[in-house]
């Protein structure tokens, strides 16, 4: 089975029913996406496929069509993506475990909406749980990232 992950073609031997998350983590060694719940309820495993956020814990790998972008593929040539830079600037992460998923959801949001409102942020990020309660800084970082992205464009 062939997957395109962060711009690289990967050959894996997986049961097509295996969730994409475990195919990435256990078989392909891509550990950026995290396991949190297994039922698409927390968003820690979020990856982006064709511009859409996908909870990789609940998508069978056999059903994947399209290129997969994970947290590990956001930075280009060592330069952080504006969302990652904003997360760094705003000092968002605490334990950090959910942040790969948070950042992927924010990345997808900003690909769709340049300048999201608080309501847009609530809608896009409601599926990403954070037990450390980093939400206020996540909100600031998304707004910061929108500015950074505009400046780079």
């Amino acid at each position: 089975m062939r997957l395109t992950v962060d711009g690289k073609d990967i050959e894996i031997n997986a049961d097509p029913d295996m969730p994409l998350l475990w195919a990435l983590r256990d078989l392909a060694g891509v550990t950026g996406p995290k396991f949190g719940c297994g039922i698409a309820a927390c968003g820690a495993c979020t990856v982006v496929i064709d511009g859409m956020t996908v909870r990789s814990c609940s998508l069978p790998v056999g059903q994947v069509t399209g290129a997969i972008t994970t947290i590990e593929g956001l930075a280009v040539d060592g330069k952080l993506h504006p969302v990652q830079q904003a997360w760094l600037d705003e000092q968002v992460a605490q334990c950090g475990y959910c942040q790969a998923g948070q950042i992927m959801s924010a990345y997808a949001l900003l690909e769709e909406i340049d300048d999201p409102t608080d309501e847009d942020i609530d809608n896009a990020m409601g599926g990403n749980l954070c037990r450390c309660g980093t939400y206020p800084r996540i909100r600031s970082a998304i707004k910061k990232a929108a500015t950074l992205k505009l400046a780079r464009a």
């Binding site: 049961d15 295996m18 969730p19 475990w22 983590r25 256990d26 078989l27 060694g29 550990t31 950026g32 996406p33 995290k34 396991f35 949190g36 719940c37 297994g38 039922i39 309820a41 927390c42 820690a44 994970t70 947290i71 590990e72 956001l74 930075a75 952080l80 990652q84 997360w87 760094l88 000092q91 968002v92 992460a93 605490q94 334990c95 950090g96 475990y97 959910c98 942040q99 790969a100 950042i103 942020i121 609530d122 809608n123 990020m125 409601g126 990403n128 749980l129 954070c130 037990r131 450390c132 309660g133 980093t134 939400y135 206020p136 800084r137 996540i138 909100r139």
Partner: protein, 756 residues
């Protein structure tokens, strides 16, 4: 507060702890210093000066921050202690958790285990603090908990930085033939300005390591700090925004197998029978092994990938047996109610409470009953550990909060001594008090079954929720006698809850049973800075069978709600404003008063509110910090919205304001989540909830605005990681009670109201 006579009648936990220490690590003389564990693991050209600093020939400076980084920012703060005195920036050093060693014992975590409130500075209280601190050292207990790491590292790690600087300067002085006093540092170099000579730390390291620094050096005055007291960029942030493999679940080893566990959902019981055939038939399953441990009984599934292990776990069929403990929430409630009718132990008993109520007119007395449920920790990173048994040695990689115990107990589970066990502590995807040694014991047993190959054991979220070490369910019965001026003259609080210490001991050292009162049952109620003439708080140990443990802020998490909810009721009964009541009862404690005034001012407490909105106030002194919070709620068509939270916290000395602010917000959200909707309920002795759909937490769209003030009035430094939680729970309940015009005395509030 507590008289010497009363103390003498109490059995200190210290007895049990010291015995446990003897079992765990052998007796050590208190005065005997531990060696430097870094000496055993130096790379070529690397030198070490003390357990906290290594410098390599290429000028890499490595600081050991030997506490679990679970999000609280401790790796940054501990590194800053060393950097401040060494005279370099955080960008100029590398931070590692370092090896597991008794040298990294936590002497502060147990310091407040005695029956004395934080503000009791009597001789006997000081003696008790010293004694408990010594227990931490004797046990060699390398542990992260009790919001103690910053306080514990404050002196030790600044001294380590100062000592390293001293020997580097001494080595340079010798090399340049000049006095040390003429030398200064510039980044990671020692410079002699007059002659223009300079040498890097790396060039001096080997010589410097041979020089013995004085036992204690004079440290910088607070006014001269350049890093401390200022917000730092966290040293772990880049890894966390790039998805770096820093967590336990990310461990990857050559030839590694994967696994999970399926433990008996009936606590403590052995399965009566089990059919593993369907599970064993799952493609990729390597082996299923029984797990019979002090934490519980069940099965470990070893497979070629995690998914196969998860599938197999679901297919295990067993007769799990019947619970020998209260099997459902009604039975739990009855057990707690029955316990309230029995005698407890008093950690606060002032005046004569019985006399005060004996002749109280009925209209001067108010009574109330409060209750809280069990709670799960639900760390974002599910429980996990990786282990390998090879050549008679056990190696463990795990997110954990107590690595010396991990080595001892995981080794013991497979017949190895600590000296043959090596535990590596990874970053923790949340901890909150949950990361005990069950994960590593199970992983060790499973690794032994496939000797030679490492096994990474990750629990499903369902296992994680159903096999937690829960925040105790608790119930309290309170009464107050009112005086003529609206203030209480007598307060009597009785609180029934399982003993956290007893439950932890049952899991870790089951042959020992801790004697004496467990202060966690009443912490947050018996140790608050209120003055009331007749004031008694009793804790009644109630074994409910369910494993309980340290949940962010421990007993404060429910006592804050009990004490501060009832204080609001007292205010109402006396016709006083709730904040005004606190001010009047806290006059003996200026630090508390300043916190109350600060947060009331920030929240414009007392100003008229629009219809459909309300505010609630609460105060809890916990882990040495004084915290007041105001929560504002609004009724909306879709339910109650938590709009804004104001927090004022006096932490004595604020080391990193940015991290403290993050921790206060984090702690508050943790508490609000629990108060709004979290509950672990039982049915047939098994936990009903299983995942985030029925044990959820606050989401971003529910998150209120925050306004934070950090104060430094008190003369002792307090903790930070847990202090935001207790008053948030109580302030929310008080706000919702004010909004609805009726008193809510049971959590979660979602049983009676709806949140937007």
């Amino acid at each position: 507060m507590a008289s010497i006579g009363k103390i003498a009648r109490r059995t200190f936990l210290i007895g049990a702890a010291a015995i446990a220490g003897g079992v765990a690590v052998g007796y050590w003389y208190v005065s005997r210093p531990y060696g430097n564990p870094l000496e055993d693991e130096l790379a070529e050209g690397e030198a070490t000066f003390n357990p906290y600093v290594k410098i390599a020939a290429d000028n890499t400076v490595t600081v050991i921050a030997p506490r679990a980084e679970m999000g609280q920012g401790i790796s940054t703060t501990l590194a800053a202690f060393v950097a401040e005195e060494l005279g370099i920036s955080l960008e100029e050093l590398k931070v590692e958790h370092g090896p597991t060693s008794f040298a990294y014992y936590n002497g502060t975590m147990m310091e407040e285990s005695g029956p004395f409130p934080w503000f009791d500075e009597s001789l006997i209280a000081s003696i008790a603090r010293d004694a408990f601190s010594t227990v931490g050292k004797v046990l060699g207990l390398q542990a992260t908990g009790g919001s103690s790491s910053t306080r514990d590292g404050f002196e030790r790690m600044r001294q380590a930085g100062a000592a390293t600087r001293y020997v580097l300067l001494a080595a340079a002085a010798k090399r340049f033939g000049v006095p040390s006093s003429e030398l200064e540092t510039a980044g990671r170099s020692v410079v002699h300005k007059a002659s223009g000579k300079s040498a890097t730390f790396g060039e001096l390291a080997a010589d410097a390591a041979a020089i013995a620094p004085p036992a204690s050096l004079k440290l910088k005055e607070k006014a001269d700090w350049t890093l401390l007291g200022k917000s730092q960029k966290r040293v772990d942030m880049l890894a966390k925004v790039t998805g770096a493999p820093i967590f336990g679940v990310d461990v990857m080893l050559p030839d590694m197998l994967f696994g999970t566990v399926k433990m008996n959902p009936v606590f403590w019981e052995r399965p009566r029978s089990a059919d593993l055939s369907k599970a064993e038939a799952v493609k990729g399953v390597v082996k299923i092994v029984p797990l019979d441990t002090t934490y519980g009984h069940g099965f470990g599934i070893i497979a070629e990938n995690t998914w196969a292990a998860f599938q197999a776990a679901d297919l295990i069929e067993a007769d799990w047996g019947a619970p020998p403990y209260p099997a459902d929430s009604a039975s739990v409630d009855k057990a707690l109610t029955d316990a309230l009718a029995t005698e407890g132990s008093y950690l606060r008993d002032e005046g004569d409470v019985d006399a005060a109520f004996a002749d109280a007119p009925a209209d001067r007395v108010i009574e109330a009953e409060y209750s809280v449920p069990f709670l799960a920790h639900a760390c974002m990173e599910p429980m996990n550990a990786t282990a390998r048994v090879k050549d008679g040695k056990l190696e463990i990689w795990a997110p954990n909060q107590m690595p010396t115990l991990v080595e001892y107990l995981s080794g013991a589970a497979i017949g190895l001594e600590s000296k043959d066990v090596t535990a590596h502590t990874t970053s923790l995807g949340g901890g909150f008090g949950r990361r005990e040694v069950d994960t590593t014991i199970y992983a060790a047993i499973m690794a032994k079954a496939v000797e030679g190959r490492p096994v990474k054991v990750i629990w499903s979220r369902e296992e994680d929720i159903r096999h937690d070490t829960y925040r105790p369910a608790a119930k309290g019965r309170f009464r107050a006698r009112m005086g003529d001026d609206g203030l209480p003259v007598a307060l009597d609080m009785r609180i029934a809850a399982p003993s956290v210490i007893g439950s932890v001991m049952r899991r870790t050292f089951p042959s020992l049973s801790p004697a004496g009162p467990d202060g966690t049952i009443t912490q947050g109620s018996h140790d608050q800075p209120y003055t009331i003439a007749d004031y008694r708080v009793s804790g009644i140990k109630t074994d409910l069978g369910v494993p309980v443990g340290f949940w962010r802020s421990v007993g404060n998490s429910f006592n804050g709600f009990f004490h501060e909810g009832f204080m609001d009721e007292i205010a109402a009964k006396g016709g006083l404003d709730p904040v005004d009541l606190r001010r009047r009862l806290m006059t003996a404690h200026p630090a508390a008063l300043k916190v109350v005034d600060k947060v009331a001012g920030m929240a414009k407490w007392g100003e008229a509110m629009p219809a459909g909105t309300a505010k609630g106030f609460a105060f809890t002194l916990s882990f040495g910090s004084w915290v007041g919070e105001v929560v504002q709620v609004r009724d909306t068509p879709s339910g109650i919205r938590v709009e804004k939270v104001w927090i004022a916290a006096d932490v004595g000395t604020a080391i990193d304001p940015g991290i403290i602010e993050a921790q206060l917000i984090s702690g508050a959200i943790f508490g609000l989540s629990s108060a709004m909707g979290q509950e672990i309920a039982l049915s047939g002795g098994q936990v009903v909830q299983s995942n985030f759909h029925d044990f959820d937490s606050m989401r971003i769209f529910q998150c209120p605005e925050f306004e934070i003030a950090i104060l430094e009035n008190y003369h002792k430094m307090g903790g930070v990681g847990e202090i935001g939680t207790p008053p948030a729970v109580a302030a929310l309940a008080n706000a919702v009670s004010a909004l609805k015009g009726q008193r809510f005395r049971a959590l979660p509030l979602s049983k009676e109201v709806t949140f937007a």
